[in-house]
């Protein structure tokens, strides 16, 4: 038992050392600064995918995360541009706005199950895109552009985070921001899944009627899980808008929603860290295959099919298989 616990602590420390020390060191020594952008994207996408994973955890297939990412991006961008808010304030506000919206949307649609929920969330992504095109405040297809970089964040006169625009290397700053948020996000997820609520969520995944018959408040739990999921989506969307300094109705589309879902599947639906691994593999796989030119999509999807045939329960199930054999 203690050795198991020690193992966990060691692996967490190792992981933190890799993302905060080893990766920046390796990048600055090799001079591949473009990798910062890739890794930042991976971190942000894995936050959004973690949200999707949480809805999988209560037994719902969520293909609507793109809608919340788009919403979060627009909330942050509009507050910064039209109301002069600091980016750091808009970040939690964007998340909370998405969470509130997801409660309103979730109340009716979380009654749906299986493919019905999947399809309705898919439609939700389209609704978000069409709304962004139609509403006056979002500036239609032109989108919102030249959003300023995040400013300084100071509490009681002490500067906690410097102004991104004055930094020499804003890529590194964004990388650290995204990775920090990712670590926080997955820590929250891990805590949530291994708590009483996590166990209750698992009971929802297996059988909602049974869970409700022994006194689990299923409606409440579903809403909570969905709201947390959308919060993650909104936060990651808001940072994406800040990095690219722009947001368009097509920033997050159905393809992105589907990709968030695929990240979860690929990593493994039974593992908290599945979405992180899945995002990393899918995003890097796609990037690496860039050299194959026109065959990129063919090879990528072919590999995905093969992976699915060999490891239908996700990449992390590989660890379980080897453990059983060994």
């Amino acid at each position: 038992m203690t050795s198991n616990r020690n193992m966990k602590i060691v692996s967490v420390v190792a992981f933190l050392a890799i993302v905060f020390v080893a990766v920046p060191a390796a990048i600055s020594s090799s001079g591949r600064f473009d990798l910062y952008y890739t890794l930042t994207s991976v971190a942000l996408l894995s936050i959004a995918s973690a949200g999707v994973w949480l809805t999988f955890y209560i037994g719902r297939i969520n293909i609507g995360q793109g809608a919340y990412a788009l919403m979060g991006g627009y909330v942050s961008a509009i507050l910064v541009m039209n109301h002069g808010w600091s980016f750091w304030l808009t970040l939690p506000v964007a998340g909370l706005f998405c969470a509130a919206a997801s409660v309103l949307i979730g109340l009716p649609i979380l009654r749906l199950r299986g493919v019905y929920f999947a399809m309705v969330t898919l439609v939700l992504t389209e609704v978000a895109r069409l709304l962004a095109l139609a509403l006056p405040i979002t500036n239609g297809a032109k989108g919102i552009v030249s959003i300023p970089l995040p400013g300084a964040l100071s509490v009681f006169g002490i500067t906690l985070i410097p102004d991104f625009a004055t930094l020499q290397n804003s890529r590194l700053a964004f990388y650290l921001l995204a990775v920090t948020l990712m670590v926080v996000c997955f820590a929250v997820m891990y805590r949530l899944v291994n708590s009483r609520i996590g166990k209750l969520c698992q009971s929802l995944q297996q059988n909602e009627e049974l869970a409700s018959s022994i006194g689990v408040n299923i409606a409440y739990l579903r809403i909570i899980a969905y709201a947390v999921s959308s919060f993650f989506g909104g936060v990651s969307g808001a940072i994406f808008a800040a990095i690219s300094q722009s947001i368009y109705p097509s920033s997050f589309t159905v393809t992105d929603s589907v990709n968030f879902m695929l990240n979860c599947f690929l990593g493994g639906l039974g593992y908290v860290f599945g979405p992180m691994l899945g995002t990393l593999v899918l995003y890097f796989g796609w990037d690496l295959l860039f050299q194959t030119g026109q065959f990129q999509l063919l090879i990528y999807s072919g590999l995905m099919i093969v992976l699915m045939l060999v490891l239908p329960n996700g990449l992390l199930s590989l660890a379980e298989i080897t453990r059983k054999k060994g």
């Binding site: 749906l112 019905y116 399809m119 439609v123 069409l130 639906l269 999509l297 990528y300 995905m304």
Partner: protein, 288 residues
Amino acid sequence: MEQVIANGLYLGAQYALIALGLTLIFALMNVLNFAHGQMYVMGGFITYTIYGQLGLPFVVALLASGATLAVIGALMEKFLFRTVIRRSHREESTMLLAAATAFFFDAVILLLFGEKQRGVPKIVKGVFNDAGIIMPYDRLVVGALAIIFIAAFVLYMQYSRVGRAMRALAQDRVAAQLMGVRVDRYSMIGFAMGAMLAGVVGGLLVTITGVNSGIGGPISIKAFLMVMIGGAGVVGGAIAGGFILGMMESVGLTVLREYGDVTYLVIFAALMVFLSIRPNGLMGKPWG
């Protein structure tokens, strides 16, 4: 007004045929076939090649589209979906596979046929213009063919031996197996038929709207909409959903014209309200 209704009926007939294939696959396998739109595009390109490029008769091209897609569907079921369903802990895993096959088909279509919009010569020339309705003859022919195919499909499902087996399978897989229905075989036939329907519609519509490699995804979404309206896994529901969506699109485009491009926004919003009242669509099984 008559024009709007006529357009709606025409759209509805082709939509219903698209939705039928999707719902059939869902009913038999519990698989949401993300690649349905891509199958449609493939059917369209096969007809384009045979009828438009090689100049063979349209019927031959349509048959070839259907047959090719049927073979692809059967292979997909046998080698991909059956394996994954057997090995996976969770049923939803098939969605990843379906999405991956959709990407795969997209890539194949792009490599084989390129990204250009393709069209073929009209199958029938002339325009029907009477009683306030203007409708090109080729649309009438395609609409009529679509309705004939729908009727043939319904009759086949109702009265043939294969159709009966598939209905039993959709109702209760285990019970059907216990009654001696060869589940694997009929799943494969069902998947092939669903894919064939997608190919046939693709072949029919290439004569009117043409085809390009990017329309697979949007077609899939429309097919999902129709299936949701009518209820997943029910043949009658798919037909009803197809006609309702066709009608809504046709009416919406006319009525909401002055508000800009909001027809689909209104349709989506209406659908979400509708589904929160009737979670299983018009005639769906509970918890499909």
